[in-house]
Amino acid sequence: MPDHPTTPANTLAQALPVRLVRHALEATVAAVVFGYALIICAQVFYRYVLNSSLIWSEELVRYGLLWGVMLGAALATDRNAHIALDPLREAVSARTYRLVAWASGLLILLFCAIVAWYGWEYLYRLRLMRSPASQIPMMYVYAAIPVGCVLMAFFTLVHLVAGTFLPGGRGREEPAL
């Protein structure tokens, strides 16, 4: 997978506060993905070796997936790794393309704003609910949506301002599927 496209080191996208957010986000995503494997292996181990099933493991990794996807999507925004078609890239002039890129950047911001807003309302309405098996307050689970959207909006804004925003960064590639 291509890394983050080469950007000059002095742009906003490489400024210290942005780098701190990025590193924290990266560490969290890596930990979440490692957590999936670890917890599910533990689940198998408990069932066959210790003969006692874990009751909380399945629920925990399922909610972890929501967090992993929302945070990973923010990281994908930072790395321009979202799946896009981007047919105009070669068809129009660089100047027009910059306008087009801004338009799609603003649309991403709009999407994040709407989803974060309603995600927050959803969380608020269900704030008293707890998960059936492990009694996790569901608001911590649903918080993934507004948090992920805010981070996605953050990286979109950073790259728009820094001029390193590429909506179809990976062009016509699909993820490794």
């Binding site: 292996c41 198998v44 399945e58 996807v69 790794a81 896009a84 309302e121």
Partner: protein, 424 residues
């Protein structure tokens, strides 16, 4: 409502908005404009589409595949295949296909397999005098087996949308995948002279025994995955986690993994999963509008007005999927059409597992065909040849895959026999 949906979607895609946002935003626009609907449905659909234990198999199999590639498992499989098949005419091509078949049984994604095997095999084939277009055609077509032979990431996604057992889908893909692979081998042999294929010296049995011993730990993975699911020890998700653990320990034992490398693989698996599953979430909003606006039913009515014959309907569906797969990336295409296809499965009395594998095989073919045959393009990049110059060689392989797909659609035994041993 449906007009707003499609107009916005087309506009957003054109300006390069990523698929997940294009589908999500056009669905939001359609929902907002329909009176009496609250947008609270948006977070509700997003959480519902991602809240699934089965979907966890996606990051796990992606991670397992990456760990195996960087842990040297791919290399050993390629060396084993070469020592077994290299002395035939077109031996490297055969070894390439065999490696892809083994890798398909280890990992669930074609692009990862293609880059791993292609970067070893294509330069080797070029050195031995094979035509680049021939190597590209073989490598990219053989990579199509990855999402069909279990494990398969797209089968996980398909199962999680439709509620069909993912274990059953995995088992159902085994025979069609191997059958397609054998066909690719035969076709590669038939075209060997045209492709400038040569033979390598036959390796002695001592060398072969060594190559087999080296590859044996890798061969254990399909046994764990398929055996575990067949015997009911694991769910597919658990098989994914065990495959990750195995690949990680193997790489540590052979000293190919270090902490920094594994950290980067975890990140890259996290990002790849997120971009695929965010698309899934966006598509689930999109398909919610498709279904609630009556579009799915209208499509079924249209098809049943054309024909009442299931065989003909299957053929029509095949062509529609083929065209869709040519333009839309596989995961998104799959999520978009599935809600529309499900009523058809019921209406025409197709078997859902058989129809599932048929759908997957139809859609993945878009990886080879223009305008955006991503697998063929990546193979061309490795080979250093223009995509346009490979069509002549690619065409027979594309045709064979289409034939294999139709065989799966019309011959129930291929998909249903293996699952019938376990699931009833």
């Amino acid at each position: 409502m449906i007009l707003v949906l499609f107009v916005c979607f087309a506009l957003f895609l054109t300006i390069g908005l990523p698929l997940a946002f294009s589908m999500g935003l056009s669905a939001i626009a359609a929902i907002a404009l329909a009176s009496g609907q609250t947008l609270l449905i948006v977070p509700q659909r997003i959480t519902a589409s991602l809240d699934s234990f089965a979907l966890l198999a996606v990051p796990l199999f992606i991670l397992a595949g990456e760990l195996m590639n960087s842990g040297g498992i791919t290399e050993r499989i390629v060396r084993f295949s070469r020592s077994m098949m290299g002395h035939f005419k077109g031996g490297l091509a055969q070894a390439n296909i065999l490696s892809n078949m083994f890798m398909a049984a280890l990992s669930g994604s074609s692009l990862a397999d293609l880059s791993a095997i292609g970067s070893m095999m294509i330069p080797a084939m070029t050195r031995e005098g094979y035509k680049k277009s021939y190597s590209v055609a073989i490598t990219s077509c053989a990579a199509l087996m990855a999402p069909i032979i279990p494990p398969s990431v797209i089968a996980v996604i398909y199962g999680s949308i439709t509620g069909i057992s993912i274990g059953a889908l995995f088992l159902a893909g085994a025979i069609p995948g191997i059958l397609a692979g054998i066909g690719i081998m035969i076709l590669a042999r038939v075209m060997a002279t045209k492709g400038g294929a040569t033979a390598m010296p036959r390796e002695g049995w001592k060398m072969r025994a060594k190559a087999s011993r080296d590859a044996a730990p890798a061969m254990a993975v399909p046994v764990i995955i398929v055996g575990g699911i067949l015997s009911g020890i694991f769910t597919p998700t658990e098989a994914g986690a065990v495959a990750v653990a195995y690949a990680l320990l193997y790489g540590i034992a052979t000293r190919r993994h270090n902490a920094g490398g594994v950290y980067n693989l975890l990140l890259s698996a996290g990002v790849t999963t997120a971009s695929a599953l965010l698309t899934l979430a966006g598509a689930s909003l999109f398909s919610y509008v498709l279904v609630s606006s009556g579009f799915a039913q209208a499509t079924l009515d249209l098809l049943s007005a054309i024909t009442d014959d299931p065989h003909l309907a299957m053929l029509l569906i095949f062509f529609v999927l083929l065209v869709l797969g040519m333009f839309v990336e596989t995961v998104s295409a799959l999520i978009l059409v599935t809600p529309i296809l499900m009523p058809m499965v019921a209406h025409y009395g197709f078997h859902d597992i058989q129809f599932g594998i048929f759908t997957l095989m139809s859609l993945v073919l878009g990886g080879l065909t223009p305008p955006v045959g991503i697998l063929a393009m990546v193979a061309c990049r490795i080979a250093g040849i223009e995509y346009g110059k490979t069509f002549g060689m690619l065409m027979p392989f594309i045709l064979w895959w289409a034939v294999a797909t139709l065989l799966v659609g019309y011959v129930p035994f291929l998909t249903l026999w293996l699952p019938s041993l376990v699931f009833n």
